[in-house]
């Protein structure tokens, strides 16, 4: 990549080099899942992940739970408190905490034996299974919190992560309901911390975006024919279920609602308004609160909030990738391609695009820099003369309104 970059940089004039470069592809990007109290990572640093593999478990309704006393005194568990009292005399004299630790250990062992590991250090010795309680540690218990269960009904147990210890008692963020989140990408886990974050280095390449919303989602890339640079909401039908659809210059709230209703996995647009983003966020919150889990849906805007058409090199790239599996990632905003080999469009080195201003979205060729120039409203700015592809004449516009593509 660096070789290509340096060659490209050598091809352009120093004036053009001062135009903001827009990177079309990034390779092996790092993505992040933000966790919160009650959430845990199901992977550890060094694990290799593939799409569909569980990576974390969220506790949507985590609340504060008094766990009671936990700890090891002369090799035995301490006195259990209210939250875990019923399980203090559980099998093999293990607290729920230790049971869970054992389960975690066995899962990790299974992963190791199945060969999914890359550079993880060798596992801890067996006697370390009984780790002392620490913040962030997964905890399961609370069978007696709802009182005596009805006859024939199983006691509801809650799970979550330990928060802190105060006055000898532990407190946890725990809840009854849990949601397992699967990885939408292939890669290697770089960091996994319960209640904090999971960071994955993606194997593949990605197209950076400006804004992303919803949740990371995966589907096949669908590039329909756009009318005047846009996709009408009516063009979204059930035939596109499971797809990540290129929606053109702007995506409306109506199109988002319709896409979600028919199980479309994601939308790619040039821009999206703040109102639509707020609607989507509210809708996501409602869905998370409901008991019926919804399919993940992601939205990515490549340019910003104000309407402007998708850049033609990016549209060409997306068209070339049509039908392949892609992933919308929200932190940071990325459209991830599984393969690092992405067919890049051929572009002249002086190809530029207006990214803001009245000409936003228009593309053409750089002609020359003309220094300070008096623009509308008597504003003096560094200017350039360009020839847009759809115009025979030349146009003078501020250099700061331009961008060039960097592959």
């Amino acid at each position: 990549m660096s070789a290509i970059e340096s060659r490209a940089a050598a091809d352009i004039s120093p004036e053009l080099a001062r135009v903001a470069g827009r990177r079309v592809l990034v390779f092996s990007p790092t993505i992040r899942y933000q966790l919160g109290p009650g959430d845990r990572a199901l992977v550890v640093a060094g694990d290799a992940v593939v799409p569909g593999m569980p990576i974390l478990e969220r506790t949507p309704d985590a609340e504060l739970v008094d766990v009671g006393r936990l700890g090891i005194e002369n090799g035995k568990s301490g006195k259990a408190g209210r939250g875990s009292g019923s399980s203090s005399g559980g099998g093999a004299s293990l607290e729920p905490l230790w049971k869970e630790a054992a389960a975690e250990e066995s899962r990790a062992m299974a992963r190791r034996t199945s060969g999914g590991r890359t550079d993880r250090p060798s596992g801890p010795p067996k006697q370390e299974r009984r780790r002392p309680p620490s913040p962030g540690k997964w905890w399961v218990g609370g069978g007696d919190r709802r009182g005596k269960p009805d006859k024939g009904k199983q006691a509801i147990r809650i799970g979550g992560t330990l928060l802190f210890e105060s006055g000898g008692r532990w407190w946890a963020a725990a809840g009854e309901r849990h949601q397992v989140v699967t990885s939408p990408v292939a890669g290697v886990v770089r960091e996994a911390r319960n209640a904090v974050e999971v960071i994955i280095e993606v194997a593949g390449s990605a197209l950076p975006g400006a804004i992303a919303a919803g949740v990371p989602s995966r589907g096949y890339l669908d590039v329909p024919r756009l009318t005047d640079g846009e996709l009408w909401a009516s063009a979204l039908d059930v035939g596109r279920a499971g797809a990540v659809v290129v929606a053109g210059s702007r995506v409306s709230a109506q199109a988002i609602s319709r896409a979600r209703a028919i199980s479309i996995r994601g939308l790619i647009a040039g821009s999206v308004g703040e109102g639509e983003l707020r609607d989507l966020e509210a809708s996501e919150l409602r869905q998370r609160a409901s008991l019926a889990p919804a399919l993940p849906f992601g939205l990515i805007a490549l340019d910003g909030h104000s309407r402007r058409p998708l850049a033609t090199p990016i549209l060409a790239l997306l068209a070339a990738m049509a039908g392949r599996e892609v992933t919308i990632v929200t932190d940071p905003p990325l459209l991830v391609f599984d393969s690092p080999e992405v067919p890049l469009p051929e572009l002249p080195p002086d190809w530029i695009r207006a990214r803001s201003g009245p000409h936003a979205g228009r593309e053409g060729r750089w002609l020359k820099s003309i220094g300070l120039y008096r623009f509308r409203s008597g504003i003096y700015l560094e200017a350039a003369v360009v020839r847009f592809a759809d115009d025979t004449g030349t146009t003078t516009l501020p250099v700061t309104d331009l961008e060039r593509f960097v592959f």
Binding site: V26, R32, G304, P358, G378
Partner: protein
Amino acid sequence: MLAGLLYKIESTDPEILVEMCAGEGPDIPTLVAVWPRLEARTTPQRRIAVLAGSRRQRRRLETAALRAGWLTVGGSADEDDAVVLSRLVLSTETSAVLLGADHSPGGDEKRHLPDLTALVAAATRLRPELTVVLAGGAATYESQFAGLADARLARETAPDPVGLASGSGGPGATEPMVEKVVESKLVTKKALAEAEAARADNATMDASEDGGPAASSTGEAFEAEPEAFEPEPEAASELDTEVEGGVSGTVASAEPDPSVVAPAESQRAPVPLAFGVVESHAAPNHVLLAPDAEAGDPAGAALQQVLEGLRAFPNDSRLGVARSIASLAYVLDRSVEVVEIGLQGGLSSRSELIGPGHATVVTSYSCLAEASFAPANPSEEVIDGLMTWSTVPLDRHRTMDRLNDLRLLPWGEADGDGAIFRLAAAKAAFGRLVEATPELAEQPMPELLVASGGIFAALPPSVVALALADLVRRPGVSQLAIDQARLLGPLGVIEDEVERRRLMANLADDILMPLGGLVMPAGIRPGRSAGLLRLKGLPTSTEIELHPGSVQVVDLPPGRAARADFDFRDPVRLGKRGRHFSVDVGGGLSGLLVDLRDIPMRISDRPDSRRAALDTWQRGMWPDIDE
């Protein structure tokens, strides 16, 4: 860019280039490679989680943190449960935690402190990169964090994950901070001792009702060196000569300062600078002990200072602006105020000599992340503020979109409609800054008022002058200027005060572009005429009738001074109360502004009427707005 500049010089005036190369043949690539550099950086926005036992205490702490330039999220144990508070602390967007209590915590706080401390200590075990500030009574729980250095060390020795380019955390969120725990404790204990001393001083001042000038809000006072600095014309070129010649013998530095960027391509030894840059890093810390939120004068200043040191880069350009203004106040022997509006925040600073004949400069300043012209995730209040200053009708959702786009592309669409929108955004940010610094608004009108920041630099000078007059509503006479080349920040990074003053003495006329004089009387009564203005000292004497409610502009070019005699119909306040005033005024690109509007400004609450009034004033200063 430097190479381009030098090539342009070579094509227009090659002799200058020969002089730069000390008589040898100009070799621009070599010149670029050995060019000494002074690096200043804007500290990106960082977020601090403010935790307290009570809402009252949380608000005090938040105020100090906001004034130190932090973005804040907060919670108190009496309102939020531990899960909510943990969420704030564990979020990777949070870079630091401020846990505070009164100096002697009352019952409402005291009972929550053990749990809160345990919660924060537990969070730092999960996030060892987190910096914790224990303020006031919370400092007694320092021992809870005893084992933290080990966890931090373990994390630092572990392989680092690749940092994210953007997203939630921002550069500051994931950036591991270099720490020296012992050092930081020494520093903070010193700060505590200072705070105690300040507390004692306050008590003394309260008791004696000392009417002397107020100490700086951040406690910063520059005392002149024993050998008092005298601006020397010859000294002007000392730096220039060294820079241009590429050689220096004044500073013998075996190892250049880390802030001095050595050119990577060059194999030649880096040329030492003729000046030092601010060296002490602000964040060699892990657990900091800080004074409570009431310590200092004004209250919270001591804590603000600690938090600011934690937040900002050592070569932070925004704080550099404040330092440059302090030097400028000394050099010009004037009271100087600056308003700087940027993408990552804003700064308001005032410096003045403590009195005639004194060499001590008193500086008070405040950084505010919310004073960014395009704040991240703008609130409804931010949108309201922008729409309040807009002269064109704006749709609320569209305004939000444009403001978000302005954050993504801060230099995008700087002309036409974009310029009008940017002006409204800058004024709204300026308004937030004024609102957050009431102690500055109580000061008299400064003799020199400076606008700084890229958003002002791209606007016509007369519009910037009007923006200053719109938002600094204090009766008095002032000279308006703009930091057009945006050099105040970088020059403020020079650590040596004497060196900085010398530079300022030589460059003040060049780095500040005069916008014009401003005369702002208070107490003008409505009517047809407010009185007469006679401008003397010019080739032709000018007499102008003054109209209440208007901003009148008198042509007075840059570099010219005149005497303005005012005969008001009714008594007004212009420093003191009276009808007849005779003041010296300076010229500028927009001339002399006589602002006869109300103080504070009263405009209709109705959007249409307000827009019409703003538009009328603006068109008077910006005639080519519709071009």
